[in-house]
């Protein structure tokens, strides 16, 4: 970047100018991204033949083995990065591979940047990615094209890791599009099912809407700063007193637009529930724990930009908390077990955006991590349930499964308690931090709605548990005797995910309650320090017996209220479902009936989109087509027609006979000679 004024670089990013020697990390970090793409190439090229000749294991061993290797390497990289050890330092480590696009002033490096934020994401992506790979061995054991599934999974891991590791916006965008592509392939994995193919298309198209905004945002960043490097551009965007061609609020909103698409925030949330058509491990990995977090990561990564554009942050908070309550209300009445979890994911992502919007950056990433683990667990658990009852996803045809599939039941119970926000489990710490920060940053409306959502979350999650595991069995009598616990490849990841779902919150955020800096707060402090300074938020000490303690008690009370009303209605262990009361609610009249129907029909958003884009948009398109056909094409065709007809008329005089031409020459000659004589013969 020697074209740029070196003064700015020297002063602003002085510590980066003397970049630390990456040492062995210079090899390990690129390897994290390289191994999955190798696995994809290998499995895509040879997987089918290996599976046909040697059996299923041959196609699975390479992709799964490589992802385990990636996890090991990632763990080696992650811990020094989180602890700000050399060579990472507080600013993070840049590993430049080569100059990707050298074009005058526009220079893009192919390089990676690893700091604490990247490392936090790496933990979630590689750990859950690895467990999902192992789980898939069991889950896909009856599928014909296992090799294709694992090839796509490896492609997804590659894309996601590129997205997280990239040190410039263009590479982030590349990973961003690649996760979209692999998500499309995996949602439509059973492409012979029409609904799956349509859901894949829907996800792809809705994501594209957001991606346009993100692409424009990246261009706007380049116009404003003249660089594609994330760290440099953010440093320049936050220079005091700098003037920009494009206002920062617009830039921030454009970037957020991309985040809305990928993280399925209102109004682009419609694709995520449909994406549940994909195999369950995909739902767990992509549509719960990793890809949908990309938007949260993006906003967190661009935190100085958002901190400098306060109006955009209010929009982020509003969209986030609105999505949270909207999705939670829909989750109340869905009967497909995976769809309930999908709406729950939407709701929790809304929480994260609300956290980002109120300036609780660390809390958002904290919730991202805990949510990744417990939602991954819940999805994999639901997959195990679906597997046990022979591909039945409707909760009305489950029930009383808790003694038949005990490991699944126990791990899902842990996940449910974690997401509900009962103390000591993971979700409590992160959710409480979000609500507390919202309150303390004077976003009282976010806090109040968030508290309501907490009640709702606990309630619909217990509804899921009750309908699935407790009460009386409504399983198909033909399937009933065949219900069995899943294979070890499936239960092992469940157990391994249940541990962080219980403990991760305590480990990462427990320090706050002892009046110290929490572990995750210490990790992420350098990333968000500058933004908190810009926003003028002074860190207040935690008061367990003051305002903070009061907020904690409130949020625990909210979670318990939701959970206990869920238990009252839907039962626990031997306590039966209060079916008459449930029916009374669903058959009630007046406002309740309206709310029930609205929730059941997902607030008619699919219908609204159908009306707006299929019908009205279709009308507009039909009109434009008519305009194009008659006016535009008409003009062009008329010009062509006139020329053709004129030619058709004039070609009659072309007889092709040499004597006609000669006659023409003769007559011409006579006319010319005659007129010459007439003119010259005139008296002067």
């Amino acid at each position: 970047m020697h074209f740029l004024p070196s003064l700015i670089l020297a002063t602003e990013t002085g510590s980066q100018a003397v970049a630390a020697d990456p040492g062995m990390y210079g090899i390990l970090i690129p390897l994290i991204a390289l191994l999955p793409i190798l696995g994809f190439a290998f499995t895509a090229l040879f997987g089918r033949r290996l599976q046909a000749k040697l059996g299923r294991w041959a196609a699975e061993i390479v992709p799964v083995g490589l992802i385990i290797a990636v996890w090991v390497i990632a763990m080696v990289v992650v811990f020094p990065a989180l602890g700000h050890a050399e060579p990472f330092g507080e600013k993070g480590l840049d590993v430049k591979l080569w100059t990707w696009i050298p074009a005058g002033n526009f220079t893009v490096d192919l390089g990676f940047h690893v700091d604490a934020l990247t490392a936090a994401l790496l933990i979630v992506v590689t750990t859950i990615g690895m467990l999902v790979h192992i789980y898939s061995i069991g889950y896909m054991a009856h599928d014909k094209s296992t090799w294709r599934f694992f090839a796509y999974l490896n492609l997804f891991m590659f894309s996601m890791l590129i997205l997280v590791l990239a040190n410039n916006w263009l590479l982030v965008f590349g990973g961003w599009e690649l996760v979209g592509l692999s998500s499309y392939s995996l949602i439509g994995f059973w492409y012979h099912k029409r609904s799956a193919a349509l859901a894949a298309k829907k996800a792809f198209i809705v994501n594209r809407v957001g991606d346009v905004g993100f692409a424009l945002g990246i261009m706007a960043i380049f116009v404003n700063t003249g660089t594609m490097n994330i760290q440099e551009s953010l440093a320049r965007l936050t220079e005091p007193g700098a003037a920009f061609t494009i206002p920062l609020t617009i830039v921030a909103l454009l970037v957020f637009c991309g985040a809305m698409g990928k993280s399925a925030q209102f109004p682009l949330h419609v694709w995520l529930p449909d994406a549940m058509e994909g195999p369950t491990p995909v739902s767990a990995l992509i549509h719960a724990a990793t890809m949908v977090n990309a938007g949260v990561y993006l906003v967190a990564r661009a935190n100085p930009l958002f901190a400098s554009a306060q109006e955009a942050m209010v929009v982020v908070a509003a969209i986030g908390i609105f999505t949270a309550i909207l999705a939670a209300s829909i989750a109340f009445t869905q009967t497909d077990i995976k769809r309930v979890l999908a709406f729950s994911t939407l709701s929790q992502l809304g929480y994260m955006f609300a956290a980002l919007g109120v300036g609780a950056w660390t809390a958002a990433i904290f919730h991202l991590m805990t949510h990744g683990f417990f939602k991954g667990l819940l999805f994999l658990g639901s997959g195990s349930v679906i597997h046990a009852v022979h591909d039945e996803q409707d909760m009305n045809r489950m029930g009383a499964l808790w003694r038949k599939i005990p490991i699944t039941h126990l791990t899902m119970l842990i996940g449910t308690i974690a997401i509900a926000g009962i103390p000591v489990f993971a979700g409590f710490f992160s959710k409480d931090e979000i609500l507390g920060e919202a309150f303390k940053n004077q976003f009282y409306w976010v806090w109040a709605i968030g508290l309501v959502v907490a009640v709702m979350t606990a309630f619909y999650m217990w509804r899921l548990m009750g309908k699935t595991f407790y009460g009386t069995s409504r399983v198909d009598p033909a399937v009933e005797p065949k219900i069995h616990e899943s294979a070890w490849q499936m239960t092992l990841p469940l157990i391994l995910l249940a541990i962080p779902s219980m403990l991760l919150g305590l480990v990462l955020g427990g320090g706050t309650f002892l009046g110290q800096e929490s572990l995750i707060g210490g990790w992420l402090k350098p990333v968000f320090e500058q933004s908190e300074e810009i926003m003028g938020r002074a860190a207040e000490p935690f008061q367990l017996f003051g305002i903070d303690g009061f907020l904690v008690v409130l949020s625990v009370a909210a979670a318990l209220a939701g959970l206990l009303s869920g238990i009252y209605l839907f039962g626990i262990f031997r306590r039966p479902v209060q079916q008459d009361k449930v029916d009374a609610i669903s058959n009630a009249n007046g406002a309740t009936k309206f709310l029930y129907r609205a929730s059941l029909n997902k607030w008619w958003f699919d219908e609204l989109n159908d009306l707006l884009f299929i019908r009205l948009g279709g009308r507009l398109a039909a009109f434009l087509w008519w305009f194009d056909r008659t006016i535009v094409d008409g003009t062009v065709n008329a010009i062509g027609g006139v020329t053709r007809d004129a030619g058709g008329g004039l070609r009659r005089i072309q007889t092709g006979r040499v004597q006609n031409y000669a006659l023409g020459i003769a007559i011409g000659l006579i006319v010319m000679a005659g007129s010459f004589l007439v003119i010259v013969g005139q008296p002067r």
Binding site: Q654, T655, G656, R657, V658, Q659, A662, L663, A666
Partner: protein
């Protein structure tokens, strides 16, 4: 009066009239005859008519004498070359079409 005109008409008009008549016959032949060979012959006739007019001018106007002779020679050379090429083309077409009649040569029209 020039000595070369001894014993023949002393009038320029007579030569020009003859030249004009020859040219008219040539043009009529070219336009009216359907046979390619006859048309080539008509062209020769027209060329010779022109040549005759040029020579006549040269004989009656002393200043044009040399110029007229040179031009006449050049026209003869051109006429000879034209006849050669024209005949070659006509024969080539004849081999394809098996007819000397130019009405049949209507490939240009299609």
């Amino acid at each position: 009066m020039l000595s070369i005109l001894n014993g023949i008409s002393q009038s320029l008009d007579a030569y020009l009239i003859l030249s004009g008549v020859l040219f008219a016959i040539g043009s009529f032949g070219f336009l009216a005859r359907r046979n390619a060979i006859s048309m080539l012959m008509s062209i020769e006739l027209m060329l010779n008519a022109v040549n005759l007019a040029i020579i006549a001018f040269g004989a009656f106007k002393l200043a044009l004498n040399v110029d007229a002779s040179v031009i006449a020679l050049i026209v003869m050379a051109a006429a000879a070359a034209e006849a050669t090429v024209g005949l070659a083309i006509v024969i080539a077409i004849y081999r394809n079409k098996k007819t000397p009649l130019v009405d049949e040569y209507d490939a240009m029209r299609q």
